[in-house]
Subunit: 243 residues, 2 copies
DNA sequence: ACCTGAACACCGTTCAAGT
DNA sequence: ACCTGAACACCGTTCAAGT
């Protein structure tokens, strides 16, 4: 990741960062990631990679809403419209960002134990989404079966077949697993993003505490709901892979 | 629902509606949902319900990006800032919209066959998300265990227990099922939204056709991947509920 | 070839003013 | 009590111009 250390100079604003999709006007919580030494990037050094790295830093510090063409330009000491030499528009930039998030930086696990490798690769994907909580919903930009998904899919399907599953079984298992991991991670990511925005970190998911009269079933089951999200995730994998 | 029929007067613009999160400037594809008879809403008739209904119409016609405070005001013949009497801000409006999407309009199935009712309720949830493809990601605004989820959860957990599962089993099964349904539906919804934006409807998901040399596992498994998303969804439920 | 600057058509939100 | 209008501080993107 290599995030610049200078991020915490804007400590004056008490509120956290923006969480929600649209522009979010003047009210509290705007963090201007832009404010930087703003070393003017010399001509010819702008490139997709340079832009993507800066964009990821902005997202890391201020969330995806802090990422505007203007903020990105400012961070690099460059006119915002210069970005359009390298990306057709902001959507293309977000696509590329999503692709990098899916790919990640760690190699896919290859210990020789296919069952363990499969689980690890799914944990890896989850970790990757939780690392950029506000960017996580952008995974949906890359439909499974395109871009960075291919390598993950090849790896997972290979592992499934290596555990003795037929091609048909492996195909079906992969599709179900993937949707579970995506669903789980997106719900978690949203929760994480909300906590980051409110500057409380590590808050647990709201405990289900239903009124026994209105929600008798829920009340009966509440003690068994996994409070810990790691446990919940692993239990889901157990269920889908056959513990 | 009850969407006004007058939507297709803005037929001049060839391109579809906006898909992507941010404002999306001048380029093709902007549909102004605003253009309406703009009957001036008389004083005192503005309410949360009126605003939500109009907002849903805008989302239905132009996608979630067409929903701006200004557009909503214009649709009702009202100053945009009047909305702030009824919702603190746009996020609160989107929360309420998400809540209505999760709740839906059909009652939860209650045929007496708990296994069938459970599956039906999950299909219902999926349908509800696919009905507003661009709004679908907003389900993440309501974390499971809040708002409209409670009734769905009560219903599902009740059904699971009625099929003989223990409380612990029912809790674990529900959590896994929910994440699968959410993941599946969000991926589908994105695909749907993209097709609507491009004015091609009913296009299938991109077929996985990997090069046999780079992706041998994928190639072996490709024929078994469900091309049809309904089948894929049902297969996932089979897997999670024990066919 | 690559970047700049001004401009266009939008945003969400606040606040003083009107009825 | 409820709505309006002007204003503020933003957006993404285009296009002619500069170096």
């Amino acid at each position: 990741m290599a995030m610049s250390a200078e991020q915490e100079s804007a400590d004056q604003e008490p509120a956290g960062r923006d969480l929600d999709e649209p522009g979010t006007g003047g009210a509290g919580g705007r963090v201007t990631v832009t404010a930087m030494p703003a070393r003017r990037t010399p001509r010819g050094t702008l490139s997709r990679q340079v832009l993507l790295d800066s964009a990821r830093e902005i997202v890391d510090i201020g969330g995806v809403n802090a990422l505007s063409m203007r903020a990105l330009g400012a961070r690099l000491g460059v006119d915002p419209t210069a970005i359009y030499r390298h990306f057709q528009n902001k959507n293309e930039l977000l696509d590329a960002l999503a692709d990098q998030m899916i790919r990640g930086e760690e190699p896919l696990p290859a210990t020789g134990d296919p069952a363990a490798d499969l689980r690890d690769s799914l944990r890896q994907l989850r970790r990757q989404l939780l690392r950029y909580p506000t960017l996580a919903p952008s995974v949906l930009r890359q439909p499974p079966g395109t871009g960075s998904w291919w390598d993950r899919m090849e790896h997972a399907v290979g592992a499934l077949r290596a555990t003795g599953r037929s091609a048909a079984e492996a195909a079906a298992a992969w599709q179900t697993l993937l949707f579970f991991v995506v669903g789980h991670s997106l719900v978690e990511a949203r929760h994480l993003a909300e906590n980051l925005a409110a500057d409380r970190v590590g808050a647990p998911m709201p405990t289900v505490n239903p009124s026994r009269s209105r929600y008798p079933e829920l009340a009966a089951v509440a003690p068994y709901l996994h409070a810990d999200l790691d446990d919940q995730f692993e239990a889901g994998l157990d269920r889908l892979l056959g513990a």
